[in-house]
Structures are given as C-alpha cells and as structure tokens.
C-alpha cells in the first residue's frame, strides 16, 4: 500500500483481556517503530525493529507487552491482561534502512480498556 496501515482503528476491550494490534509498514521499509500516546502526553517509544538486528525493546513498559515482526513486513503488538492505564493511541511508523530520517506513521489504533 501507499502508506503505513494499522488495524483495528479502534479497539475497546475489557480489563484483563489480551489484545493484538497490527501494523503493515510501507513496502521496502526495513525499520519499524511502535509508539503510544496516552491522553495529554507525548509519543512514548515502545519497540523498534531494524532489519535482521535484535529489536530494541527498551521502551516496553512491562512484560505484558510484546511485539513481533515477520521479516520486513507485518508487525503485531500484543498486550496481555490489559489494564486501564494501557488505554492510549498506539502508533506504528516505518522508515528506510539506516536513514534515521523521515519515519512515516500510520493513523494509529485507539485502545480503550474498560
């Protein structure tokens, strides 16, 4: 596709349930990032995939959060046993290898934990 695609666009889940968020990056982009934005806050880094290198997981807030990426394509962010504080917009971005320049963002998934 032309841009970064995220699904679902909105997700409401009950506290304690697991959720899976999906990101389709721009074709050819080897770098993929997950960020989240909680209400009134900035963009909080979660995890970064770059080609075949080990992912940078330093931003994951707890072991309930995990992410995978299949080759240089789709990535899924999984949150287990969701808590109300996990409510946020989860944003995925991708960029060209070694560019460290412009990262293109998807529209995000708005997660609401009730």
């Amino acid at each position: 596709g032309a841009g970064v695609s995220q699904s679902p666009s909105n997700k409401v889940t009950e506290k304690g349930k697991d959720v899976e968020l999906r990101c389709d990056p721009i074709s050819g982009h080897t770098a993929l990032y997950w960020y989240r934005q909680r209400l009134g806050q900035g963009l909080e880094f979660l995890i970064y995939f770059q080609g075949n290198s080990a992912p940078d997981k330093s931003g994951l807030p707890s072991d309930r959060f995990s992410a995978e990426r299949t080759g240089e394509s789709v990535s899924t962010l999984t949150i287990q046993r969701t808590q109300q504080e996990d409510s946020a917009v989860y944003l995925c971005a991708s960029s060209l290898e070694n560019s460290n320049t412009e990262a293109f963002f998807g529209q995000g998934t708005r997660l609401t934990v009730v």
Partner: protein
C-alpha cells in the same frame, strides 16, 4: 528523564504572524532533529528536519534553527495560516549506532486564529 523537551504545551498566534515553537534536548549525542505535525485522529506527518552539521534549514514557510551549544532548536512558521493549527512534535535521534529510535517531545498545540 525526558531527553527532548517542549516546555510550551500550547501556543496561540494570529493568522499572518510568525509562529515560533521551541524544543530543548539533553543528549549531546543527538545529531539529527525532526519536526512532525499531528492533526486529531491522524498519525504524525513529517514536516522538516535538520542535521547537526547545519544551523538552519528552510522549506517554504517553515524554517528550523539549531543551536547546538544551547541544545535548542526552534521551528518558525511564517506567515502562519489557520491550516497550521495542529500539535507539533519535536524529535531527535543519532546515527552512529544501529538501533536509534526517534525520541519525541510532548508536543505543542498551535492554534492559528483567523
């Protein structure tokens, strides 16, 4: 510890005047800086960037200034237009190692009043 700081959460400017958005950073290893613009319910979009080897980069109505000694950068928009009303995020990264996710500030909400 916030490495990228945008100390003004909001800014209001009259149409046609200059908008100046400020950003400070603490990590002296950062060597590449970006500004992103975000409208409600959309992902952030890249606006302009600057490398640490420069002190100014201009693109149409948008100019970014970098003061390395002060660890400060600013985005100037002139003339400001109502369509510029959005949240502006400052971001920074460094290129010397493999995994370098963008570090974002909390954003400044710009309102351009007609």
């Amino acid at each position: 510890d916030q490495q990228v700081k945008q100390n003004s959460p909001s800014l209001s400017v009259q149409e046609g005047r200059i908008s100046i958005l400020n950003c400070d950073y603490t990590n002296s290893m950062f060597d590449y800086f970006l500004w992103y613009k975000k409208y409600p319910a959309e992902g952030p979009t890249f606006l302009i960037s600057i490398s640490s080897i420069k002190d100014k980069n201009e693109d149409g109505r948008f100019t970014v200034f970098l003061n390395k000694s002060a660890k400060h950068l600013s985005l100037h928009i002139v003339p400001s237009q109502p369509g510029d009303s959005a949240v502006y995020f400052c971001a920074a990264t460094y290129r010397n190692s493999g995994n370098t996710p963008l570090v974002f500030g909390k954003g400044t909400r710009l309102s351009v009043i007609a």
